[in-house]
Symmetry: C2
Subunit: 358 residues, 2 copies
DNA sequence: GTGAAAGCGCTAACAG
DNA sequence: CTGTTAGCGCTTTCAC
């Protein structure tokens, strides 16, 4: 902490400026600027000379000066409007952030992470509107929360997850194809020989909850099966267990369950085991998300994998295109993948037991 | 993507400048600047008038201009020198990043995440030295990798994890107290009645591997037990399983194992089960890290919890203090906590079986 | 194609 | 205590 040698007397600037490059290359500052910004209107020889000088001096442009002059910041905000508790417990966020950061590391943009728990949302808004960023990414898992929607008029924003309300759908967003994923995993259950397939749906006021139920229904209809076995949970394991108990309490046969996320599927496991039933022999179980709940469950859980890094990367890509006025689709849906695991092993292996054992 | 209304003809600047505030408050720009920067040398009435104008105009300072003039960026880089594969699979990083981001969200600093996979490390270095950030946080899980060490001379840096080499220990770092944690969990095993306790250590060229082995040894010595049952792994589940097999192959009794991380403990589980032994009845198992491997194992794994968010927050705190020339310790050790789970249930409940069952 | 000149919005001595 | 005066390092018309 004692002052260390820094600006010794007559010390030359440690960081070379554009002006120094210009002098070294024998051109004007404007020309160097053009080369740095890859302007097409600089002759070959001059470009070379400048690049040589840049390399020799190890020149790095000063972002602040560049931003100030160009009125562009080259900064993208990543807004996470969540309580810290939720943030800490959800691996999805981390993946999305990493995906976005990774994509941007290949561009000239820089990621600026803003955690905006309730109390500071006003501060966040002002920061965003204060000309500190060129655009913003808003990630709110599983909620479709677009409370930053109105900022979209002043700043390019890309949301993760589709908006809940129709009226808000002027916004750009990237989402996972929840409905298709749910339909796919449901079809997988059908192909495994299951005929009495229930679902533990998510809250119907959240897009993922709604869309996944819809996908299940569609697949059931298409397979000519009854789509009446529905119970609603809130995406927690406990709610999954409770929903499963309600399903089992209905006096109808059930040989398969699709839970709208892995946590609820984990809850369903315990309810099923509590009844002395077996997975997958008696009831096949499938989830959605593809997080560690699915891989560590016993037996491992069949699920629909969400491409969370790709989602983050895609959000960043869409935003950059918007900022640079390149054409982009307002809505991007990411494909999911089915991950088959023992929890949905087909019934055929027990074909010899078509007659119930007891 | 057709051009939308932006700069309408004669449109007034949407973002108020400091100059406009000065005019509105009837003072000079310098005075406004002083108020914004909380300089003590501005009279009460004037401060009030300026603040009123700021609020009325909804003024937000321009970061770029401020940085350019003050030669401070208010930006902190978070460097993650890892392959993307590792980054994506390790929950530790995410926690540290979140902790740092959360801490900084209460300050005037902003986090700038740099993912620096091998190929781009030169680009990263130049960026860091190009005056784009006020300081850097370097997080490299489990490795003590300080390849950015030499930058410490030009830029304040705080590392996560202690450096491997003695010679490099001029650097500031925050680390988990690996040795104390390992000793604590080992003592816990001893208190549970275990007497033949082995360890599956991590690589001895990584500080955490080394320190945790040391903690185990120390606790064993202090308890008067033999500290000879050591096998080395590489922190993967597979290596943990292999090490456990080697331990079991030694023709000596083993009733407890401390694995240097949860993944290796998970591997040990499978080797133990493969021998027809039971956890915890025959062998108690404990890990280190406190990630989901420990909570989802069956039986759930006793482990040492790493305060990863706190570590991230502390790193940020130390760095900010360095930047602002406030006193800070060069080394900060974070305390770990013991999480007791069924995998180390005490032997006492089977006290009646002091005589081996066979 | 290239250079000259005029700032971008703010801070930081220096006077007063 | 407050105003004046210079820039910070770069981009960007506008001439040449």
């Amino acid at each position: 902490m004692t002052s260390t040698s820094e600006t010794g007397p007559g010390a030359h600037s440690p960081v070379p400026t554009l002006e120094m490059v210009a002098a070294a290359a024998g051109v004007s500052r404007a020309t160097v600027s053009r080369v740095v910004n890859a302007s097409p209107s600089v002759s070959g020889p001059v470009t070379e000379a400048v690049n040589e000088a840049i390399a020799r001096l190890n020149y790095v442009p000063n972002r602040a000066a560049r931003s100030l002059a160009s009125r562009r910041t080259q900064v993208i905000a990543l807004v996470v409007p969540e309580t810290t508790a939720k943030l800490f417990s959800d691996p999805f966020f981390a993946s999305v952030v990493q995906g976005a950061a990774l994509y941007l590391s290949d561009t000239d943009y820089t990621l600026n992470m803003l955690i905006s728990s309730e109390t500071r949302s006003e501060k966040t808004r002002r920061y965003l509107l204060g000309g500190n960023v060129d655009g913003a990414l808003v990630v709110s898992h599983h909620s479709g929360d677009h409370s930053y929607e109105h900022l979209g008029q002043s700043l390019p924003i890309v949301f993760g997850g589709r908006p809940l309300l129709q009226s808000e759908s002027e916004s750009y967003f990237v989402d996972v194809d929840n409905e298709a994923g749910a339909a796919t995993v449901t079809r997988h259950l059908v192909e495994g020989g299951r005929r009495h397939i229930a679902t533990i749906a998510g809250p119907q006021d959240m897009p993922p909850g709604f869309d996944r139920l819809r996908g299940w229904s569609r697949a059931m209809d298409e397979s000519g099966l009854d789509a009446g076995l529905v119970e609603i949970g809130d995406f927690t394991p406990e709610s999954g267990a409770a929903a499963m108990r309600r399903l089992l309490a209905r006096a109808v046969p059930i040989d398969g369950v699709f839970a709208a996320n892995d946590q609820m599927a984990a809850g369903a496991y315990s309810a099923i085991y509590a009844e002395g039933l077996r997975i997958p022999q008696d009831i096949a179980v499938a989830g959605f998300d593809g997080n560690y709940f699915s891989s560590t469950a016993v037996p491992a859980l069949t699920t629909i994998n969400q491409p969370s890094h790709e989602l983050g990367a895609k959000m960043a890509e869409v935003l950059v295109r918007r900022i640079e006025n390149k054409p982009v689709q307002r809505v991007t849906l990411m494909e999911t993948t089915l991950v088959v695991r023992p929890s949905t092993a087909p019934l055929e292996i027990t074909a010899s037991q078509v007659i119930p054992p007891h």
